[in-house]
């Protein structure tokens, strides 16, 4: 689960991680009050709150450029916020449709310090799971404010990693290693040790999947601040964090994915025109792959899990049919334990209930498969049977492409 920057920074503050002072608004009439709380000596940052990245370089559908704006005066901040709030921001990560900006976050602009070589005093800091060791890892870099993948590719020597032993947690010497690796000394060094320690505590206590601060910066006044904050949480651990669940913003999630989750379905929309309905995540992924292999284009990932009951299949068909691009459906079920005939009856009912008119190819394998195939054949519906995954994929691709 992802949260907005302003929510992440509120949590940072609770854990003692230094951030610029800020205030969030959801309506235009709150703007003046929010700005009044902030010190505008160095100006204000006006930041659109959407989950997608690339906000600064984004463009609103009304033509306004930039989802993150520096504003020298209170009047300019108000003007920028009014241009953003309620409008749709398109960034490199949102897709063409963009996202409606429903919250604006104002912060006191920081007086960015300079390094001796004249570069901005910006750094990178992140905490996440290292899958190779099954331990948390802290990643730091002197190259803040840019894509970390870019830094890792071109200047890997500028990335520092510290692995944390979960048995004892982050040690002081490790926080010092990070601060030294970033070249800090004196007062900033101490602030960095504190910030890393508190940030790790937040990551661990709140079951974060990832915490990323980019940039982390040093101000001219000698303060180390988390200027941006990207936080995601482990979905499996949400049951023990009701305060985190309360931060969920359904506006940022795909309506069909939310609907699917109500029926225990795992659904992800893609750009293609052949929908698939599969049991098991690995099989669902490879069903998409085999459709593409035979020249088709998958419209979605959809895992009905181990069950595939009539209600689930009906719900799945309705979600699939909600995608106007879909021109055909492939059902791929390996009914190892469950009775294929029960699944076949579910499919027939679902087709009748949804009034499905699109080509449908069903591949059933497993327990009582002959009875299942007979049920499909006797249904009077135009359901094409596939003998294997390859056979079913070739049939649905042909049916869709020849239309």
């Amino acid at each position: 689960m992802n949260i907005h920057e302003y929510q992440a920074k509120t949590l940072f503050e609770k854990f003692g991680v230094a951030v610029p002072k800020g205030a969030a608004v959801q309506t235009a009439k709150e703007i003046e009050g929010a700005l009044a709380q902030l010190d505008g000596t160095n100006g204000y940052m006006v930041k659109s709150q959407i989950h997608a990245g690339g906000r600064g370089k984004g463009t609103f559908t009304n033509g306004f450029k930039g989802g993150v704006k520096f504003s020298a005066t209170k009047e300019k901040a108000l003007e920028n916020a009014q241009a953003m709030l309620g409008n749709t921001l398109v960034t490199a990560q949102t897709g063409e449709a963009g996202r409606k900006v429903q919250t604006i976050y104002f912060t006191e602009a920081a007086n960015l310090g300079k390094r001796p070589d004249g570069r901005d005093d910006e750094y990178y800091l992140a905490i996440l799971l290292d899958r190779a060791t099954s331990c948390p890892v802290i990643v730091a870099s002197t190259e803040g404010g840019m894509e970390i993948e870019h830094v890792a590719h071109h200047t890997p020597e500028k990335i520092f990693k510290v692995q944390v032993d979960p048995a004892v947690g982050l040690q002081s010497f490790q926080a010092r290693q990070i601060a030294f690796s970033l070249g800090f000394s004196g007062e900033i060094f101490k602030q960095c040790v504190t910030l890393v320690t508190k940030l790790y505590q937040f990551y661990w206590d709140k079951d974060c999947a990832m915490v990323e601060v980019n940039p982390l910066l040093v101000t001219k006044e000698g303060k180390l601040l988390a200027l941006d904050a990207k936080v995601s949480f482990d979905d499996n651990a949400l049951f023990r964090h009701p305060d985190v669940v309360a931060l969920r913003d359904l506006n940022e999630e795909d309506a069909k994915e939310i609907e699917a989750s109500k029926f225990g379905l795992s659904y992800i929309a893609l750009d293609g025109n052949i929908a698939c309905l599969v049991n098991g995540a690995g099989l669902a992924m490879s069903t998409m792959d085999i459709i593409q292999h035979f020249g088709g284009s998958p419209a979605n990932f959809l895992d009905v899990g181990g069950g595939a009951t009539k209600d689930q299949v009906t719900a799945a068909f309705k979600i699939i049919l909600g995608d106007a691009n879909v021109k055909g459906i492939m059902v791929n079920i390996f009914g190892g334990i469950m009775d294929c005939n029960v699944i076949a009856l579910g499919i027939v009912e679902a087709v009748k209930e949804t009034g499905l008119k699109l080509p449908l190819v069903v591949r059933l394998e497993g327990n009582n498969v002959e009875a299942g195939k007979a049920t499909l054949a006797a249904s009077g519906l135009t359901i094409v049977s596939g003998d294997s995954m390859a056979d079913a994929a070739q049939k649905i691709v042909k049916l869709v492409n020849n239309k």
């Binding site: 099954s134 331990c135 948390p136 993948e149 079951d207 499996n236 098991g280 995540a281 497993g366 327990n367």
Partner: protein, 301 residues
């Protein structure tokens, strides 16, 4: 032999009184597996009955092991309590803990895995279908079925199968069985980012197992485990290996059902892994329908 579990392996089920655990305990009993104990805290002394089988239930794993000689546990405990159930297995010095449970918090697994480091108990999973060593009876009856795989699709033989995904494992097993090729042991290592046993761990066991003559390795996008295994295979493996990687069409940054199936970077993609498989001499299946044939192209059995 087979690897990890055999026809004579004595099994306990943690969470045997829950719906999920009970259903699969019955199927294992029907398959002829030596399921000798159940564990549900507070229900010790009760008996799990099915088709004439009477399986005693214990309050603790240690007691179940002591009373019945069970050396392996299948864990069907709900996610908030599953890591605790796993750690109870290492406390009792079992040979193997197989965690079927899906949805265990990553932090719990990070701690559990750290606690088990250096201990004798091996963990398989979590979020896995379990493992099967097929029996020699009709439809492989009499084998050791731990977890949720359908038993009857197997056939005793000489191919080792290792996979993160349940249904893809069944797909590969069924393809082999339909072509008359049996399996030594089929291991589902699970779809979570933190798991107890890796592809490589299982490949090494297959490499050392005299009954295993050939191997199918099924992987996914996300993480580096398949690549690590492929490089080891190139350097050390004496047996022919076929492979498949799911997720060629998966978009970057999205979790494809399994918590671990997320493309994190350029190295994580299916195309990158397939390329490395090919470089390492693994016969790559172009589609999931082609897994058994990909093996039979390099191994005549």
């Amino acid at each position: 032999m087979s690897i990890l579990v055999h026809e004579t392996t004595r099994l306990m089920v943690q969470g045997i009184t829950g719906d999920f655990g009970a259903r699969h305990a019955r199927l294992s009993l029907d398959y002829g597996t030596q399921l000798v104990a159940g564990v549900t805290p507070g229900k010790g002394g009760q008996v799990f009955e099915h088709n004439g089988f009477k399986v005693p239930i214990f309050n603790t794993v240690a007691e179940a092991a002591k009373q019945t000689g069970a050396t392996v546990s299948a864990i069907f405990v709900p996610p908030p309590f599953a890591a605790d159930a796993i750690l109870e297995c290492y406390d009792a010095d079992l040979d193997l803990a197989v965690a079927i449970t899906e949805g265990i918090p990553v932090r719990d697994m990070v701690r559990a895995k750290r606690a088990m480091a250096g201990r004798r108990t091996r963990l398989i999973g979590p979020n896995c279908p379990g493992l099967v060593t097929p029996g020699r009876g009709d439809k492989s009856h009499g084998g050791c079925r731990i977890g949720i795989a359908p038993g009857y699709i197997h056939r005793r033989g000489n191919v080792g199968v290792v996979s993160r995904s349940g249904t893809l494992t069944y797909e590969a097993v069924w393809q082999l069985t339909c072509r008359g090729k049996g399996q030594s042991t089929c291991v589902g290592i699970g779809g979570d980012p933190v798991n107890g046993t890796s592809h490589l761990d299982v490949i090494k066991l297959f490499n050392d197992d005299p009954e295993t003559d050939a191997i199918i390795m099924i992987g996914e996008i996300g993480g580096n485990a398949e690549v690590e295994a492929a490089r080891w295979i190139k350097a050390h493996c004496k047996k022919p290996v076929a492979g498949f990687i799911a997720g060629a069409t998966a978009p970057a940054g999205r979790r494809m059902g399994h918590a671990g199936a997320v493309i994190g970077g350029a190295e994580d993609t299916a195309a990158a892994k397939i390329k490395i498989f090919e470089e390492c001499g693994i016969s790559v299946a172009a589609t999931p329908s082609d897994m058994a044939d990909a093996l039979l192209r390099i191994w005549k059995g």
